[in-house]
Amino acid sequence: MTTGQLAIAAPKCVADDFNGEIVALNLESGLYFSLRDLAGAVWRDLVAGHRAEDVVRAVSDSDPALGGEVGALVDRLLAEGLLRPVATDVPATGDITAAAFAAAGARAILVDTYDDMRDLVLTDPVHEVDEEAGWPTRREDT
């Protein structure tokens, strides 16, 4: 299981929190993801600087099975190239929210993966873009 602090795997991943829904885009694979409910809470805890094992433990304390699912989610976020380990620990901000989130009934780990924009996302920003419009507008001759 993944341990330690994690961060958004910039520059290959960009992500933002849109009213609780995390939308993350892997610019190398062309895949993008929507993380909602408990998955979004786990993401927020991780990028706030909480160690992966602390987030998993916080959920496992009240529901070991759900804690296992959270651990699997963390592994997947790394495997998909959305998060990466942090070399030097930095102080976390705020408290871990995932456990309270799950306790309040938001126990679904909702992760949707989309691959329908790979051609658009994987456009070479140097050789294939329209110079006037910029990335990701593809030149007509490519």
Partner: protein
């Protein structure tokens, strides 16, 4: 440039503090007439002078201050490379499209600056939707986006109308207004995802060419002897012609991409998300080089929540309005 703007003597600047889409914004200019013109076009509400602004936009004409022109002197540039250089340094930029025009912003502070040689260097398109580039930068920092889109709605719920110039956004908006629908804008609107997809009014003006005006019975007479703008379009405040039809904000339930189809019935056809993302990315902020990954992420998030349809427009404004109304009502059920 920002240091120079910071040190302009206050008595050389005309300034107001207003709320635009609820955001306290300080606007300053060396030219009182241009400031007044811009304020007539922007949808703003007054704020007490002591309000601490969240952003600031300066419209400075170098000649008013006796400054030399700020010329780009290096040979060879590419917009996306220039844009990347300033982005890496923590700035936004929308220069150079033409000589002697700098439109720049600081990503962290919410300060933006037009530094132009003279009033005549102000791009004609800017006065149609004043400050749209810096406002896009400012809203982007707050999970929002100034989109080149129109809007129509019913009771605070509505749709975006997106597409390139000439596709029929303004004509569709006007058709809706003439037949009982409301709008938050027909050219640029602020879209945000803070509480779900919402569109907010940024500008007061609706634009339409003579042919579009002629399609709405009686509208030409009500517009009177107005002159057209640089695009040959009439500009007017829809609040005066369609009282109560202009809203400040509406919840979005879909995106329609109008195109001129002809016939007596409009037709709706679903658009794939990649197709919608491609088109909406280009609509993010018009002439601004906004094709950045953050903009793409915003559009992706928007299309995850809003279905997108191509709308082939009929020639009948009443039928177009009815189709939009039916679409919105169906999405509300």
């Amino acid at each position: 440039m920002f240091d120079r703007a910071e040190n302009v003597p206050p008595d050389r600047l005309h300034a107001v503090t207003v709320a635009i889409c609820g955001l306290a914004c300080r606007i300053r200019s060396t030219n009182a007439d241009m400031l007044a013109l811009y304020l007539r076009r922007i949808a703003w509400t007054p704020l007490p002078p002591e309000t601490v602004p969240a952003c600031r936009i300066d419209l400075i004409f170098a000649r008013d201050l006796g400054w030399p022109s700020w010329e780009w002197t290096e040979d060879g540039w590419a917009m996306h490379i220039y844009d990347q250089i300033v982005t890496d340094a923590g700035y936004h930029a929308a220069y150079p499209y033409f000589p002697r025009q700098w439109i720049v912003g600081e990503a962290d502070t919410g300060r933006a600056l037009y530094l132009l040689d003279d009033v005549g260097d102000l791009p004609a398109w800017d006065s149609g939707s004043p400050f749209r580039i810096p406002l896009h930068w400012i809203f982007s920092a707050r999970k929002g986006c100034l989109m080149h889109s129109a809007s129509l709605g019913i009771d605070g719920h509505g749709i975006l109308l997106a597409g390139p110039g000439g596709s029929g956004k303004s004509g569709t908006t006007l058709a809706g207004l003439a037949h009982g629908l409301s709008t938050v804008g027909d050219d640029y609107v602020m879209v945000d995802l803070n509480e779900g997809p919402f569109a907010s009014r940024v500008y007061r003006m609706v634009k339409q060419d003579a042919a579009g005006v002629a399609r709405i019975p009686g509208l030409g007479a009500r517009l009177g002897e107005r002159r057209t703008n640089w695009q040959g379009k009439f500009e007017f405040d829809p609040d005066g012609l369609f009282p109560g039809a202009v809203r400040d904000r509406m919840r979005l339930h879909g995106i329609l991409l109008p195109s001129r189809g002809g016939g007596d019935r409009s037709a709706l056809e679903p658009v794939s998300r990649p197709g919608a993302v491609r088109l909406l990315s280009e609509a993010m902020s018009g002439e601004a080089p906004a094709q950045k990954v953050e903009a793409l992420l915003f559009v992706v998030a928007l299309t995850l929540h809003l279905p997108t349809y191509r709308m082939r427009l009929s020639t009948d404004p009443a039928e177009i309005a009815s189709t939009v109304r039916s679409f919105i009502e169906a999405r509300l059920q």
